[in-house]
């Protein structure tokens, strides 16, 4: 046991977790930002921009994340960590857009009519009336999507980005006994579980508050 959880290994893993959380957090924030733009375009633009948003969302929602991780890594010459963030942002923006669209569609038509009747422009209606309500109702789903993002960062090990799973696998390479290997797998899973379960529970709490 002391061989598995010695100080060097713990620090090594901790660095991996730091990277996991940094990539996840930046990607989630950027995805909500770009997702909002995509959702608005898809819902309110009848022109070419609306079409582009629709195609973007459909393409990214119907292809695997791993494809984007690999494509960005091998086709775009940027450092590994950035390529990770870019691929996650590209992919998750489409998901966030669909979540937000769900929220916007559940705002009743009366709200739009009321806003227009008060002389609000389309943009003002969105900014002051529709988006605040939609965001509020989407917070739980955004959070559960964050759980998915945190879990999925483990895919980044495929391109050698040493996030938490990657660090774990590197350490595992030095182990010989089944006891050590199982202990390490347990520790990796438990760490992900604690982080994600906390978020999942807060999602449930928020839902009951709403």
């Amino acid at each position: 046991m002391s061989q598995v959880f010695n100080q060097a290994n713990m620090l090594f893993l901790l660095n991996g977790m730091k990277l996991t959380l940094i990539i996840a957090l930046i990607s989630i924030v950027l995805s909500i930002f770009f997702g909002t733009i995509l959702a608005i375009l898809r819902n309110f633009s009848n022109g070419i921009l609306g079409k582009v948003a629709t195609v973007y969302i459909e393409v990214f929602r119907n292809t695997p994340l791993l494809l984007w991780i690999l494509s960005i890594r091998f086709l775009v010459p940027i450092p590994p960590m950035y390529s990770g963030i870019v691929s996650f942002t590209l992919f998750t923006s489409a998901v966030m857009a669909e979540i937000l669209r769900g929220g916007m569609n559940s705002v009743s038509d009366g709200q739009y009519e009321a806003a227009y009747s008060q002389g609000f422009s389309k943009f003002q209606t969105l900014k002051y009336i529709i988006l605040p309500q939609s965001f509020r109702s989407c917070i739980p789903t955004f959070l559960s999507q964050s759980v998915t993002v945190i879990k999925d960062t483990s895919f980044l090990w495929v391109v050698g980005i040493e996030e938490f799973t990657g660090k774990g696998m590197i350490i595992m390479g030095s182990f010989k006994s089944s006891y050590q290997v199982f202990l390490l797998f347990g520790a990796l899973a438990a760490t992900y579980f604690i982080i994600n379960f906390t978020i999942s529970c807060s999602v449930r709490t928020i839902k009951t508050v709403y």
């Binding site: 459909e58 393409v59 929602r61 119907n62 292809t63 695997p64 994340l65 791993l66 494809l67 690999l70 494509s71 091998f74 086709l75 998901v95 669909e98 979540i99 789903t141 559960s144 999507q145 759980v147 998915t148 879990k151 999925d152 960062t153 483990s154 895919f155 090990w157 495929v158 799973t165 696998m169 595992m172 006994s177 089944s178 290997v181 199982f182 797998f185 990796l188 899973a189 992900y192 579980f193 994600n196 379960f197 999942s200 999602v203 839902k207």
Partner: protein, 242 residues
């Protein structure tokens, strides 16, 4: 012309189309068998999570929470790298089926549970008064009704399942993503290889996604009666599975 999408690279992809086809077939097979496993697990755990027996509820809860809150990659690595230490060596194909099956089984269990919960109480009482056992009630009364409302979220799960079979690429599983990746890393023709791979995944997933959305819309329009409450309940079940 020697860009990432140069003409001769495209030609190479189409010359070796059988590599991609083989991967596509493996992905398809893993997805179908994985779905079967996920449905079996999902229905079993979904049903027992609504039973009156506390132990069943707890078991189902533990399964769902552990699987949903840990990465699929870790689960698959455990099957691939961990189990051989106790002399269990599974073929990668089986790991793929088991991996996505167990993973999505946990999500489907939540979908099924939400579907059952959304069925009006009177149905259970009526069945009970007619002398149906719990299992009979589920089998003949409740599940046939829930099928209609859970088909859209189930289809969304299937799309995610298909996408997640790509996890096999991380353990040399011979699926579409792996074949494309290993083919292109041998000759560096990444561009066209990934485009073709993307199109193949899209062909599998897009019709399903369309189908799910169509049904969802139809339900929202109220053509299927009594669903407003159930859709509300199901939003819980799609958690993280979007």
């Amino acid at each position: 012309m020697n860009g990432p999408f140069a003409r001769f690279k495209w030609e190479a992809v189409f010359r070796d189309y059988n590599v991609f086809f083989e991967g596509f077939l493996t992905t398809f097979e893993v997805a179908v068998l994985g779905l079967a496993l996920a449905l079996i697990l999902g229905v079993i755990f979904g049903v027992i999570s609504t039973s009156k027996v506390k132990v069943f509820k707890i078991i189902s809860r533990i399964y769902v929470e552990i699987i949903q809150n840990t990465p699929l990659v870790i689960q698959v690595f455990f099957l691939f790298n961990g189990l051989p230490y106790i002399k269990i060596i599974l073929p990668v194909f089986a790991i793929g089926v088991l991996g996505v099956g167990v993973y999505h089984g946990a999500y489907i269990a939540e979908v099924v549970r939400a579907g059952i919960i959304s069925t009006p109480k009177g149905q259970f009482e009526a069945a009970k008064s007619q002398g149906f056992s719990h299992i009979q009630t589920m089998r003949y009364i409740i599940l046939p009704q829930t099928i209609k409302i859970i088909i859209p979220p189930l289809t969304n799960q299937l799309v995610n399942l298909i996408k997640n079979t790509s996890v096999l690429a991380m353990i040399a599983g011979g699926d579409l993503m792996y074949m494309a990746d290993s083919w292109s890393s041998s000759n560096m023709y990444y561009g066209p290889a990934y485009v073709v791979t993307g199109i193949l995944y899209f062909i599998l997933c897009y019709p399903l996604a369309r189908f799910a959305r169509k049904l969802e819309l139809r339900q929202k329009m109220g053509k299927v009666t009594d669903t407003s409450a159930s859709i509300e309940g199901l939003s819980v079940a799609t958690e993280g599975g979007l």
